[in-house]
Structure formats: structure tokens, C-alpha cells
Symmetry: C2
Subunit: 172 residues, 2 copies
């Protein structure tokens, strides 16, 4: 994948896939949310090979999701902590988790996300319109933004045209 996936220019999904699209990165982020910070903790709790872990931690630090800091009390240990950018992935993680429990495997309810202050479970993550209504996938369109490069712009416009012609065909 690494060499290819120029895919469609600066598509944000392509960029995030290049960074987190492997079997471990998301698990490492999850572990970090669960409080892991030391190299050893990640290794033990995930059962990941040490060379791979080194590689992924470097990548995540390089991307600004984790911050590497050598402990002051014991200079052998290194702490990897989530940065603000890393913590901003929390909605993604929850959305994935909720989707997984609803649509994968045996429909189990194995993790609860509750508000610390109230003890109440949070709502399912949803797409919400500008004025606060919950939206469905069918009610949305993707349009090229101001910074879309030509390839992405072409792709999104093609998708629009296709949807348009499909709608026209359905209407006829």
C-alpha cells in the first residue's frame, strides 16, 4: 500500500488510512486512551512484537498523535502520551466501537461509554445537520472544498454526476 494509494489526491480518508490503516495503530491509540504509556505496557497488553511497536510509536509520534517523554524518576522508562490531536480521535474510536458492537459478530454490548460526572451512558455518535437534526447517509452529499486538488475535485464531481443520473433514471 505504502507506495501506491496516491489514490485521489489529498483525500482526507486516504491520508488517515495511510497513517492508521494497519492492524495495530488504532489498538495503540485505544490502549493510550485506557491509560497505557510505557513501551512495556503497550507490548504486554497488546501482545505486539517489539520492533513493530517501536515502528508504530515512532510513526504516531511523528504524526503528532503521541508525545514521547523520558521519565524523570526512572530514566529507563519512556512515556508515550496522547497529544491534543490524539485525544481528538476519541469520537472516531467511539463511533467505531459503537458500530462494531451493532454490526459485527454477535451484537454484544461489551464496552459502555459513560459520562464520568453523571454515570449516564452517552448517545450513539450521529451525523447532525447545521440546525441539529440527525441525518442519514442518504441525506448527505460530499462536495469538493476550497482546498480539494484537481483529482479529488474531479472524483467528487463525478460522484455527484453519477448520483444525479441515477436519480434521473429512477425518476423516469
Amino acid at each position: 500500500m505504502s507506495k501506491s494509494n496516491p489514490c485521489q489526491g489529498n483525500c482526507p480518508i486516504a491520508r488517515v488510512t495511510a497513517l492508521l490503516g494497519d492492524g495495530w495503530s488504532l489498538m495503540i491509540i485505544r490502549e493510550a486512551f485506557l491509560g497505557s504509556g510505557k513501551f512495556n505496557e503497550f507490548e504486554r497488553r497488546l501482545g505486539i512484537a517489539r520492533n513493530i511497536l517501536t515502528n508504530r510509536l515512532r510513526k504516531l509520534v511523528g504524526a503528532g498523535l503521541l508525545k514521547r517523554r523520558e521519565s524523570e524518576t526512572d530514566r529507563r522508562v519512556v512515556e508515550y502520551r496522547l497529544t491534543a490531536a490524539g485525544r481528538a480521535l476519541f469520537p472516531v474510536l467511539i463511533a467505531l466501537s459503537q458500530w462494531s458492537e451493532q454490526h459485527l459478530g454477535d451484537c454484544s454490548h461489551s464496552v459502555r461509554y459513560v459520562e464520568r460526572a453523571t454515570g449516564e451512558e452517552i448517545r450513539p455518535i450521529r451525523v447532525v445537520s447545521a440546525d441539529g437534526r440527525e441525518l442519514d447517509a442518504g441525506e448527505l452529499v460530499m462536495l469538493p472544498g476550497p482546498d480539494a486538488d484537481p483529482a479529488l475535485r474531479a472524483r467528487l464531481n463525478a460522484a455527484l454526476d453519477q448520483a444525479g443520473s441515477e436519480a434521473a433514471r429512477a425518476a423516469s
Copy 2:
């Protein structure tokens, strides 16, 4: 990864990672949201190798995200369409996309998600409490749910304890 990543029992993130944790699956889902359906379309638009594409499509069909249907008008072509489970990934995709644009690379605004009916851009995806307030990562806890297996339960409780002791340490 495939063999390992038993990770922590039935953790939903581990399950979703096993399914979508590679360089292509999410891109295929994105393409499907953009209207691609035929084998050739995925191939051309993503630049993915055909054997890999075959493999991923089968996996996604097997997981119930895509539905494989041979065209009636031309029996050579095969249509892969998102199922309800697949469409339910839309919030995840948008959350990833929004995160990517905010925290990756050059802060660009290359894709706009707008409501078809109003033309208004949607709100950023957020975690919302039971009574509708937007929550921050720090205001949440993960607790084992009724279906958590022992390993996951232990992991989540350990995280709780650790957070507790850290809080105690910070308070002292």
C-alpha cells in the same frame, strides 16, 4: 497481525481493526459511498491491485458490509453495494475525515459534507451526553458492559484503577 491480536477478548475496537485495519478496506468503503459499485470502478479509481481488491471485496461481503449482485443487464458485471451495516459506517468515515482535515497535514478543507436538502454543511461529529451536552474525552470513562469477556473486563477495570490512583496521586 492476523494470527495474533486476540488482544483483549471481545474488544470492539479489536474486532473492527481486524476487519478494516488495512490500507484498502476503508478506501473501498469510501468509494462505495461515492457511488462505485463495479469491480472495475474500484480498481481504476483506487489504483488497487486486482487480486487484493478481490480479497477485500470478499472480506467485506463476508462481513456483511457489501452485497454482491450480478447485474441483470450485463451478466459480466458484478455490483457491490453497501448494505445497511455498511452505510452505518458513514459517521465513522465522516469523523475520520473531519479529524484528518483538522489534525493531519496542512489543515486543508478539501471535502465538504453538506445536507442535500438544505445545502448546509453538517456539524463536526461529537460525543454527546445522554441529555445532549457535548463531551470531551476527559469527561468519559469506559466500563465493561454486560457482555464483556473476562479479559476485556479485567483490562477496563485495570484502566479504571489506574485512573483512580493517578487522580489520588494528583490530589495528594
